[in-house]
Subunit: 138 residues, 4 copies
């Protein structure tokens, strides 16, 4: 299966005086792509997860390697894959490419919590089932 | 020597519906703290480095581990240390704490380039000397 | 003619602890919609205007009235119209709506400058002609 | 009385390829300055107002006029003044200057609401009294 893809239009507002996207924008885009994965692939985004289901997914780790600058010349295609579904955590691998060139890739790990208590919890079974099915199809 | 410290006032604008700072804000703050290190400790910030000296420092890597949420209840103190000064690169360790509790720590690596050509270069000697002296004093 | 529309996916990252989009995000979105208008309707975005044509369009005024909160529950549709093409300036009216409800509207005025000198200039004739044609069709 | 002043360090991250602060950053800074006014002058910031007192202050209007670009060369000093305390609303005038030059000024109006219901309300008397005293001293 092809990984889930989320397209970003890079603009003037994202660029610094070096005329490339500012480093700090990349984690934002990767997180936005993961939120889109939740919405499109799991059926609820972080907002719905938190407000409707009282489930939060705070991040405990993120790392990024940058190999080419990002600019407004091309769309930024973010590919999101599940890297590992654990009992109380999930990791994602996110890769950003423009015009066929990989610009960055990263790994992001979050834990499931009861949102209003910030207490760790196992993800509900219907969400685990969906995430496990998606992971198996990759 | 105590590491360089940069203080951040966390505000409403930084927080998400979980009432804690959004994950994506943390890389921004860490980068802001490194820019402050350049300005206060080396004597020129990224803006001056690029515009006055034609030196850029694009990032090739960043990683962050999060151990406690960041909120507007306390100042966020970012401690910046040089982790390794290489020939054409430099790494920083940045730690964020609030009210004595470490909230996150990360590692950031950038390379020196000729800014308008984006070509790798060795840092100029007067800048290397300053960075080496700071590293030795840590 | 229907006005140009630019669609925005509002997310968790855009919301504050009141669980609605933070006020400061709205000017960003309105500006992003104007940049999209340039790209889609005029044929070059701010990045191309500046880097390829040495034309800048710094803003001299913006105003916004907010009538309903913005949330991630629906797409945010931004409608952009030219309000007035002057000799050295152009004004846009931008309206944001979600699920048929107008959330905000604003007016934005920028001036044409020689980008690298920040000196006022009349827009080049081929760009004026395009903007005038678009204004006439509204 | 001198107006309340809030100092901002403008950085690389705030600037666009024209090497000046991106337009969208200015509303953020003005809002940050108003949040600082609440914290320093009234004794509680938006976060405390909302979470501890269940009072929200959503904005219904903002307007800004820009007269000079903002850059990292100087601190940005934001002066905040109360423009009008109404029964259920309050307006602020915010001016930004660098190195003695006024860069922008704006007006911001928000309404008081019961935070968790988003219903309009009159501000509590102890807050009104504080705001009225501050207004009288201007």
């Amino acid at each position: 299966m092809a990984p889930f893809k989320h397209e970003i239009t890079v603009g003037w507002a994202d660029c610094d005086p070096a005329a490339i996207a500012f480093t700090g924008r990349v984690p934002y885009w990767a997180l936005e792509a993961i939120d889109a994965f939740w919405r499109e692939m799991v059926g609820m985004d972080w907002y719905a997860l938190n407000l409707d289901h009282n489930i939060g997914t705070p991040f405990v780790h993120l790392s990024l390697d940058f190999t080419a600058p990002v600019t407004p010349r091309h769309k930024l295609i973010c590919a999101v894959e599940e890297a590992k579904l654990g009992n109380t955590s999930i990791s994602f691998r996110v890769r950003g490419q423009q015009d066929g060139v990989e610009c960055w890739q990263g790994r992001f790990t979050c834990v499931f919590v009861v949102s209003d208590a910030m207490k760790p919890r196992r993800a509900p079974e219907h969400i685990r089932a969906r995430l496990a099915a998606l992971e198996a199809r990759q």
